[in-house]
Structures are given as structure tokens and as C-alpha cells.
Symmetry: C2
Subunit: 504 residues, 2 copies
């Protein structure tokens, strides 16, 4: 066990993330603190950081340092972005932090910032091709991802704070101001040679402005899942939100449901940058990401590599298994058997899509609820799977996986269709029930938690499914327990279930 | 870390509980398996255990032994109760288990069984005076607890299985049979010299029959909390449930919502024993316990003592803190400050009862949700506190504690009044909000997680509350963060909040 800290000195806020690294490179965030220092605001006429904001930054960093010490952090990685990057008194500030606090700040060039955004997201989202946008306080990064590689990137010198200052956006925006704002942003976009080639991909949004857009949308739509990572909305709705906000003054904006009061004053310029990008490229979808620069740094540290993970979901699931101190062998044994059953029974599963990822997640994490309490742990597994950040799954997939896991012991966990009607429907529930019965059979086939069953194979007959198991020792108890699922199996698939031992 | 197993060879089922013992004697159940072997059924005419049931028991124990090995259990404690206790072939059975499986079975005398029931409950419920009843397959223990000590106990030789056999209760019960059953039970009760002295105490019920009564009641009342431990109902409702079940045959009984199909055939006799006890003593309330013999053995093992815990709630909270790997120092520091605030502000809290236990639970466990995920951990803390077995709290107290913890970071966690209307009302929510603001202030006063604040004291003035803090180093950041709660404080208490540093 080891604890590291990432300090991200941005133009709007300074953030601290404490990460605990557990065995086999699994990790979890154990604390996160944000101070809205706004280093990028009120820069001096000579382009320097404002002295009173420097003082606030030093106090914040000093507090972060104490917190790191109290929490047993052994390594601090501190990075700074646009405000410090362009500050004329950059060296002075960095030296002061080094001498007073013994913290070494690495000032990231725009390309590095874009790279970390890429690396944070490619390892935590199911992205093949996409355009990423990270809107910070004083800069905006655009990153073009093709075939999971970083094809091109740029850091533009505008963000939520300096756009607000430049165009006085705390007031209600008049038409002329809006035109000026959009023209300014658009001309920047137009100067990027590769940008207009980006077509028909989702926009992946990073940063506080995007999260606030998502929160406003979530409130508006009474969306039932709280986790913002992987939240999806449309360009159309983003434009609607921007139009709704632009006719309000700062005070009225503070009342917009979902918009944080701290961000109401600097929301409009950054939202305008997103809207202008949608309009410029004709993109249709926004995927919200909860990961960015800091996660990029964490993944670089953990993986000791700049190659993206090959299996984002697999890494994320494994991370949860290790963090929740689950029985790794049992999880993988049940998955080995379930995967086999899923492949062998595809013809009678009669499902329209591939539910491999959902089934894998549910099976590997079916016992994670034991971490809350052994009693009713299937229900706790539902809660944990539905409410954790599982990288590589859409919200719908995550929710379906949670339900499959919830049914791993018995039939009686009820799907709250009313609550989740925006996300899953009756047909999805049929799929959930089919997948769950596979997990239940295989969980029972490892009821001894000792991987006694070495392999299984299925034969499908007109009115029967025969599962043959090979095992190390007599599998009589495992088979008898798995057969408890026979009635449910027959009800769902219309076939009798036979499980038999075959020669080992 | 160490794992032990308790095997409980009862007359109805054989159960295995795997317990993981973590640091400082904290522990958690990591697996539980039950096989309905019914050793107490079909005894031979010579009073011996039935050979085919012995075979089933041996197979079950052999499987349990494998499971223990696979799970790294280093110590197995196996006990047997009435069926084995009275069996003429007891020694044979025990020797066989010893020689074939190397498991030593301790046959518990009735008084020991009663003692463990007492010890399991006195350490897991807030009991001062009570009558405990544990209805097993072939015996029923009655335990009189006065002033938290075991005053008297008895083990009666009837339970769910042998009452069913003796009175052929799988059928619809006619009036005559019911009279015979109740007379038989009542005459046993009347022979217990101390029993009629038991007055005006709650009946604490242990065992499968009681849990099934609770499940039926829970379904009937659409009770929103799943945890059965500490579920409360009335003698009146138990009689109602018994009357409803007694006019059904076994097939119809299986359809009763909440009654497990496995128990439908043996429910009536045991339920009759509870009803008869209520009628005999005129008791009014039933508290359902999820703890009994097995927990008694676990507590004896953990505490290495037969003295009951002095502070049941404190031990349980500490157990959760350690099992969830929370920051013990931070939890206790925040509680030290919150306790002080609570005592100093009693006059303006204006609450009708003592909410000390709720506040203590919420404060000490406010961060437990980090175990699920750091993000939204206040919401996860709500889930964990509401859904764990927290010993020493009533359900209402537990739910209120969960809400207080959920509000430890901000105001925006919503109480689902509709769901919980049977348990908490608007007035309770006012209390929750008052307590939560105290926790939030004190959590911020340890935002450095380093116990910088050594003590606090309050002065209440007509329109102001002044909190003075003594600290090791300048507490400027802690105070500034705690003052983020000032607006909420003023809204709730109608007084301005001032926090100031006083000489250390």
C-alpha cells in the first residue's frame, strides 16, 4: 500500500487528489480537495500572476502539503497549466513554492496537457474515434483520437475565466457580444489545420463547464443515475442550455438547477466554446467524461507506460475486485464457466446484441457487495456496480450489469422499472434475467470456492440443455446446488436443465 | 487477518459461518451457507438419528470442510444442539465426523445453548430487560435478561420440527389440534418456575420462525428497510399472522408472502409457541434479532470473555470503522468536536429527545462510503449506514444516522420521505438537519485530517453563536472552511456563526 498525491494548479482552481495504490497496481481515490483560487484571474498588466492570488495559492498548497503528510502520502506530483504557463513571473512563483513548501511544480506545455487528457480518457472510456475537448480556466485543449491513438492535439489560450473577462460575460449577453465571442472562438478553430477533418465522431467533454452542462441536463431530464462519467447528451440540448443561460444575468444564472453557484459567473464563455465547436463541425453527441489531466497522470504513474490499456473494462473490473478485496480466484472461475455457457447457449439465448461486456462485469463483480455486508450482499452488489465508476461501460450497460449481479443468488431482487424507465425497458429486463440465470448456475458450480470444475460444455436438444462438467473431485454437491436453478432455467428458456459429470 | 468457521449442527439445518477477524478484534462475516438437513426429523424408534440424514449431514460437513480449506480458515468451531444432544447414537455420529473429517463437535447442553443466545444478543442489541426466545428445530430456549445479565434460562424439548410431527401440523389445523398444541406448550411454560415473573418486557425473538414472521409482517406493511435485525412488531400482529396461516394447508401456506417455501411445512407449531407465550405472559412487543447461538460463539471467541460488552453501539461502530478501513483518527477527532458542540448547543438545538447515539453513529461513520467510491461518498455512506447491521440502534435511529452522515458535505442529499414515511417524519428531518450541520462544521474543523484543533467551546449570545477553537498550529484554513457552513447554520438556528481561534 502506497499513497501518492496529484496537485493540479489550474487557472480556475487548484486541486489535490490523493490516490491509494493497492496490490497489483490497483488504485482508488481516497480524497479530493478543490480550492477556487483563480490564479488566471486579475493577471497584472505585465502578464504576471496577481500577488494576492499567489498568496492564496501558497496557502492552499501549504494546506495540501499538510494534508498529504497527515494522510501518509510519499510522493507528490504537482503540475501547472495555462495561468502559470504564460505568467511572466512563473519562475518566481515556482521557486517560491519549491523553497517554502518543497513542492516541485512541473509546468506542462499545452501539448502535454492535451496528452494527459487523452491518456486519462483513453484508459477510462470506451473510445475508438472521438474529439476530446477540455475547457479549463484559461485554456482549451482539443484532441483528435483515431483508432484509440492521439492523432492531433492543440491547446488554445482561452478558457472559462479569460473569455469571461475579455467579453465581460458576467452580465446578460447582448447579441453583439455573443457574435464577438463566437467569432473569436470560431476564428481560433478555423486556424487549426486538422480540425475540419474531424467528422461523425462524438465529442467527449472534460472539465467543470462540461460537468455543469451535464448536471443541468440531468436535473432537467430527471435522470436517475448520479455518476456523470459517461453521461450522454446531444448537441441540440447543449445549445438549448446555452441559449437558456445566455439571456440571464449572473444572479439569475445562479438559480439554474444543476449549475454550481461558483461557476455561474464564468459559465457562458466556455459553454459558447462548446456550442461553437458543435456548429463548426456538425457533431451531434456529447459524452461527458469524469477523467482528464489528473487521471492521465495517475495512469502514467500506475502503468509506467504511455501505451493505452488494451482492455479498459477488464482493467477497471480488476481494479474493483482488488480494491474491494474480493476473492479473485472465485470471480475468475465463475466468469470462466459463465463465458463458456454464454457462448454455448447463444442460439437459445435469443438476444439481439452482444451482452458480453455486461455479463463479464456482472459475473466478475457479483460478490462485491460483501464489502458492505455479507447479508443481502446481492443487493449491495447492485448498489456498488450501479454507483461506481466502471470504465468502458455506458450507463445502460452498467445498470444492466448491476441487475444481473443482483440476481446471482435468487430471483427476488426487484428491478425498479419506474425509477430507471429512461434507461432500461421490459425487453432489457428479459435479457437481464437470461444472463442472471447463467451467472447463478456457474456461481453454484463453484460453491466450494475451490475451482473444482475445470471445464463445462453444453449440448442443446429440443427440450433439454445438458451441461457436462469436468472436475478434479466428485462434483456432486456443486451439481446439486446448480440444479436449484433448473426450475428458473426452464421457465426462462423453455428447456429442462440437466447437469452431469463427465470423465475428467 | 485470520479466518475462523462456526458450524452449527441444528435439528433443522446445518449452518456454516465464515468470519474474518481483522485488526483490533474487528470482524466480519464473509460467507454463510445453510443446508436443510433436518437431522431432528425421522428419528429412529430407538431415538437415534436417521441413517440417511446422518449421510446427508456427513456430506454437508465434508463440503463445509472443503469450503473452509478453500477460504483459508484456520480454526473450526463446531457445535450441535437438541437433535444430536438427545440422540441415542450421538457418540457414534460424533466419532464418525471426527474420524472422517477431523471436525470435533461440541454437543451443547441446553443451558449453554441458552447462554450463547444471551451472549449473541446482549452484544448486538440495546437490551436492558427482556425475554429472549429461540425456537429451533427440536428445542426452544427461553432466556430472562434483567439489567443486561442472564437471570434465568431453560431449554424446552420442542421446536418447529418435532411440534409439526407430534401434532401433524402440515395439514390445515382443526380446533382440536390447535387446543392440543397450545395446551402442550402452555403446560411446559407453566412448569418453569421463574417464567410467570417476567412482566412488561419486550420479547426478543431468535431463529428462522421469528425471521419468517418478520418477513411476512414486512411484506404486509410494505416496510422499507430490508435488514431484519431490530425489526419490531406487536404481539397482536403475530397473532394475526398465526391465525392467517393456521387456516391454510401446506400448499396454501407456501404462497404466503414472506414465508419461505422451505419453512411452510413447519411454521405453524413454532408460531403457536410464540403466540402461546404472548398470551401466557401478556407481553406486547416482539423485537426480531438476527443474532443468536452462532453470534454468541463469535463474541466469546473475539472477546475472550463472558462479560458482555459495556458499549454495544460503540463496539459495533468501531467494527465498521476498522472493517471499512476508515481513518480512525479523523473519525474520532470529528466526533470529539461534534460531541462537544452538541453538548454546548443543547439549549438552541431545541430537540425533545437525546439524539446522542444517532449523532455518534453518523459522525464516526460519515466517511464510510469512501469504501464504495470517493465520488459521492456521502451518498454511499447513507447507503452503508442504512443497510448495515449496526448493533445497538433501532431502525429509525439507524436511518436518521444515515441521513445525518449523508449531509456531512453539503445540503443537497434528499431525504426520500415517501419511501420512509413509516419510519421518519418531517419533524425527524428537522432534527437530522440540525445534527448534520454540527457534523459538517466539525468535519471542516479537521479538514487537514491532522487533529490540529485540540478543543472547542461555544458561547451562545442572543443573535450569535461563537465557537472558539484551540489548536496546535494556526487554524485559519480549518476555520475558513468551517465557516462555509455559516449560512446554513444561520438558516437553521437563526443565529450568526462566528468561529475564532483562542490561545492554545
Amino acid at each position: 500500500m502506497k499513497r501518492i498525491a496529484i496537485i493540479d494548479i489550474g487557472s480556475n482552481s487548484i486541486r489535490l487528489v490523493l490516490v491509494q495504490i493497492n496490490k497489483s497496481d490497483s488504485f482508488s481515490v481516497i480524497d479530493e480537495v478543490k480550492e477556487t483560487v483563480r490564479l488566471g484571474k486579475d493577471m497584472t498588466i505585465y502578464g504576471g500572476l496577481n500577488p494576492s492570488r499567489i498568496e492564496k495559492a501558497i496557502k492552499t498548497l501549504s494546506f495540501f502539503k499538510c494534508l498529504c503528510e497527515a494522510q501518509g502520502v510519499t510522493e507528490i506530483i504537482a503540475v501547472a497549466t495555462e495561468a502559470v504557463r504564460k505568467a511572466s513571473n512563473q519562475v518566481e512563483f515556482i521557486n517560491r513554492v519549491k523553497s517554502e513548501l518543497d513542492i516541485e511544480i512541473r509546468v506542462l506545455p499545452g501539448t502535454s496537457e492535451a496528452y494527459y487528457d487523452y491518456f486519462g480518457n483513453i484508459n477510462s472510456m470506451d473510445i475508438l474515434n472521438a474529439l476530446l475537448i477540455d475547457i479549463g480556466g484559461s485554456s482549451t485543449e482539443l484532441i483528435w483520437v483515431e483508432d484509440r491513438t492521439l492523432k492531433a492535439s492543440i491547446s488554445l489560450p482561452f478558457g472559462a475565466i479569460n473569455l469571461t473577462e475579455k467579453f465581460s460575460l458576467h452580465k446578460v449577453m447582448d447579441e453583439e457580444t455573443e457574435k464577438d465571442l463566437k467569432d473569436y472562438i470560431l476564428s481560433s478553430y478555423k486556424e487549426i489545420p486538422w480540425l475540419k477533418e474531424v467528422k461523425n465522431v462524438p465529442l467527449v467533454g472534460i472539465g467543470g463547464t462540461i460537468r455543469n452542462i451535464a448536471k443541468i441536463s440531468r436535473k432537467k431530464n430527471r435522470y436517475p443515475i448520479h455518476n456523470l462519467h459517461n453521461y450522454q447528451t446531444t448537441a441540440e440540448e447543449v445549445v438549448e442550455i446555452y441559449n437558456m443561460a445566455k439571456i440571464k444575468d449572473q444572479g439569475e444564472r445562479k438559480k439554474i438547477k444543476g449549475l454550481s453557484k461558483e461557476r455561474a459567473d464564468i459559465f457562458l464563455g466556455a459553454a459558447g466554446a462548446v456550442v461553437t465547436l458543435f456548429e463548426f463541425l456538425g457533431l451531434k453527441e456529447l459524452y461527458v467524461s469524469g477523467c482528464g489531466l489528473r487521471e492521465g497522470i495517475i495512469y502514467e504513474y500506475i502503468l509506467q507506460s504511455n501505451l493505452p490499456l488494451e482492455d479498459v473494462l477488464g482493467f477497471s473490473i480488476n481494479n474493483h475486485i482488488l480494491n474491494h478485496e474480493m476473492n479473485l480466484h472465485h470471480a475468475h472461475q465463475v466468469w470462466k464457466l459463465t463465458e463458456c455457457l454464454y457462448n454455448d447457449l447463444k442460439s437459445i439465448l435469443n438476444i439481439d446484441k452482444d451482452y458480453y461486456k455486461i455479463l463479464k462485469t456482472a459475473t466478475l463483480l457479483h460478490d462485491c457487495g460483501i464489502r458492505v455486508s455479507y447479508y443481502d450482499h446481492h443487493a449491495h452488489s447492485f448498489y456498488i456496480i450501479a454507483n461506481s465508476k466502471i470504465n468502458g461501460l455506458l450507463h445502460k450497460e452498467q445498470l444492466m450489469a448491476a441487475y444481473v449481479a443482483a440476481l446471482h443468488r435468487k430471483n427476488d431482487f426487484k428491478v425498479d422499472l419506474e425509477k430507471y424507465e429512461r434507461i432500461i425497458n421490459e425487453k432489457d429486463i428479459e435479457v437481464i434475467e437470461k444472463l442472471a440465470i447463467l451467472v447463478r448456475i456457474c456461481e453454484n458450480l463453484d460453491s466450494g470456492v475451490n475451482s473444482n470444475i475445470s471445464s463445462i460444455s453444453c449440448v442443446i436438444e429440443s427440450d433439454t440443455v445438458i451441461i457436462s462438467v469436468k472436475s478434479k473431485t466428485d462434483p456432486i454437491l456443486e451439481i446439486s446446488q446448480a440444479l436449484d436453478c433448473a426450475a428458473s432455467f426452464e421457465k426462462i428458456f423453455g428447456k429442462k436443465l440437466i447437469i452431469q459429470s463427465s470423465a475428467s
